[in-house]
């Protein structure tokens, strides 16, 4: 829930700074189509705009409406719900809405699942085979918040359950600008809002008055690389992953592309490994080889080991 609450603040900041082109007439905000658009956005992303903040939603819609030449919110609602390219338009609207939204430690319950359930299982299985190294992949790492979160999480565990283990994190994105920012690792208060004071002191150094930069230790466990998830030749060679994180990336893909990427991810993962998607994403009718596994407050997609016959608890 913190994501929604936080994104509202951020959303407001961004829009306040950039708003007014085009101007939204107050009367327009009474158009019930905005409420319907709000509900569509909420169902898809979990981002919710209360009625007194609908002007923010209207400002974001206005940009897309001018691009697609929709004259009224009701007409634009059709672009989002009934027209053939509705998924693509929804993605583009979400793109407008979620600018700069990401921050570190955004999914604490996913980390709890890693700590309490997933990693103990993976470590046990790999130890039995004589392996002592973990491979993680943040696919669609944007400006680096996710891989740095994983790096901090693993480093914090390195004296505990990961004692004697080594690990590496591959962080990839299609967007070169994002990768440049990710490699620089300079973050303001928004990105660090859920990062504790202790972790800030341990893994960051001051950059300027308002921002911190990640330490070399944190950078050293991550390898940044430009990867297009649609690029078969590249994807084929990324093998041996224990965990793949691909949050809010597939939302930009059509069904065929999603299926192709999932086939790759399945092969990229070791048996017993997990794929994590964004909290509003589902693999239903995309790929039926992964097993959907529920953890408290988090869900993951599991590549079962050979010979798994069910039983409820991986």
């Amino acid at each position: 829930m913190s994501r929604e609450a936080g994104s509202r603040d951020r959303w407001e900041d961004i829009v306040e700074a950039s708003i007014a082109k085009p101007v939204i007439e107050a009367a327009d905000l009474k158009d019930p189509a905005y409420l319907k658009i709000r509900n569509v956005i909420y169902q898809v992303s979990g981002i919710y705009q209360p009625e007194e903040k609908l002007y923010l939603l209207a400002a974001r819609c206005a940009r897309r409406m001018s691009v697609v030449k929709a004259k009224t919110p009701a007409e634009y609602l059709e672009f989002l719900t009934v027209r053939g390219n509705r998924d693509a338009e929804l993605r583009l609207l979400l793109n407008e809405i979620t600018i700069g939204e990401t921050y570190m430690f955004r999914s604490p319950l996913q980390l709890e699942a890693l700590r309490n359930v997933i990693l103990p299982g993976i470590l046990k299985a790999k130890s039995a085979m004589g392996f002592k190294r973990l491979h993680l992949w943040s696919a669609g790492c944007s400006t680096g918040e996710e891989p740095y979160t994983l790096a901090m999480f693993l480093l914090e565990e390195s004296e505990k359950m990961l004692a004697g283990w080594t690990f590496d994190i591959l962080a990839t994105d299609l967007n070169e600008n994002s990768l440049v920012a990710a490699k620089a690792g300079i973050y303001g208060e928004y990105a660090l809002r859920s990062t504790t004071e202790l972790l800030r002191r341990k893994y960051f150094r001051p950059h300027d008055d308002k921002r911190l930069q990640v330490s070399d230790q944190l950078k050293s466990v991550i390898r940044f690389e430009r990867v297009n998830l649609n690029d078969d030749s590249k994807m084929t060679f990324l093998k041996g992953m224990d965990l793949i994180f691909c949050c809010n990336v597939l939302i930009y893909f059509d069904l065929n592309s999603k299926r192709k990427v999932m086939q790759h991810f399945y092969s990229n993962l070791l048996p017993g490994g997990y794929l994590f998607l964004g909290h509003a994403e589902s693999l239903y009718q995309v790929d039926d080889r992964f097993h959907l596994v529920h953890f408290p407050g988090a869900i993951g997609y599991w590549r079962p080991p050979v010979g798994y016959t069910g039983g409820g608890k991986p």
Binding site: Y42, Q43, G46, E112, A113, N116, V117, I118, G121, H279, A280, E281, S282, L283, Y284, Q285, H291, L292, V293, H294, F295, P296, G297, I299, G300, W302, Y308, G310, G311, G312, K313, P314
Partner: protein
């Protein structure tokens, strides 16, 4: 099961009947719940709901919730008519059961308990509709009552039950595990005794007794599997007992799932991730309704 321990709580279960709401409302209601809708006397239901002003207000609050798809119901009669007899009976029962535990006797947070029970009721009903189970309101009722034994345990052995909850919280394990270890019986067994005492229907009693015994459900009815899965889903989506249960559950690999698919093949086509997101989406209203009614 520790029969001796369980025997000790039997007299306390009988003593629960002394609560006025139980005598006047729950016992006639339990009999009424067994009847087909066309055999239920509408006036009798209105009378039961109206008996206690607080209970009537709670029923109206729930009836007006978006969870039940209705708004602006102002009288008990219109709530009964709008929601249908079966649903109002289940709502009434939930409101009454809360009254059997005095505030100082709750071994855990009553609000957390009712969030879980209401959440499980709603998820059970939703799943029932998704798979084509013929009586979604029965699924709602069974979901609401599945943990009835926790009310028994909190009343009959408050301090021991508190220790069970603490042990479960410390060990990140399911509550019935620590009950087995520390009490020698679980809320499933104590709940069954109370449900039989109040003459609940056989299928609801079966849910109360077997919702944690997945293998046993294979010989039970589909309602047990349905509520078992709904209970798990709720505990996995922050509608559990307020502590972290360290578990990873492949629901589609669960034997209750397999049993239920055998009865209702449509289950195989349910997008479980979407159901999960829907639970998250309904969370705010579940919390609001339960808090409005049960928060002291």
């Amino acid at each position: 099961m520790n029969a001796q321990s369980l025997d000790k709580i039997r007299p306390r279960i009988a003593a629960m009947d002394a609560t006025p709401a139980i005598q006047v409302i729950v016992q006639p209601l339990a009999a009424m719940l067994q009847l087909a809708p066309d055999q239920v006397d509408l006036e009798k239901v209105v009378e039961l709901v109206s008996y206690d002003g607080t209970i009537a207000a709670h029923c109206l609050r729930m009836a007006n919730s978006t969870l039940f798809g209705r708004r602006n119901t102002e009288t008990v009669r219109s709530a009964v008519l709008a929601l249908g007899l079966k649903r109002i009976e289940a709502i009434l029962l939930g409101c009454c059961l809360n009254q059997i535990v005095p505030p100082d006797k709750w071994a855990f947070d009553a609000v957390i308990f009712w969030r879980h029970s209401l959440g499980c009721a709603l998820v059970s009903r939703k799943m029932a509709k998704l798979i084509g189970y013929p009586d979604p309101e029965k699924a709602y009722l069974a979901g609401l009552l599945h943990d009835l034994g926790m009310l028994v345990n909190t009343l009959a052995c408050t301090e021991d039950f508190r220790r069970c909850i603490q042990a479960a919280r410390d060990g990140h394990v399911a509550l019935h595990r620590s009950e087995e270890e520390l009490l020698g019986f679980t809320h499933c067994q104590s709940g069954k005794i109370l449900a039989e005492h109040w003459h609940f229907s056989a299928d609801v009693i079966e849910v109360i007794e077997l919702h944690h015994s997945v293998t046993a459900t294979l010989t039970g009815g589909p309602l047990v599997s349905l509520v078992h899965l709904s209970d798990l889903l709720c505990r996995l989506r922050d509608l559990g007992y307020g502590y972290y249960e360290a578990m990873g559950v492949d629901l589609a690999g669960d034997s209750a799932w397999a049993a239920l698919v055998g009865h209702y093949p449509a289950l195989a086509n349910v997008d479980l991730a979407r159901v999960t997101m829907d639970i998250d989406g309904a969370m705010e209203e579940i919390v609001a309704v339960v808090d409005a009614i049960f928060k002291p």
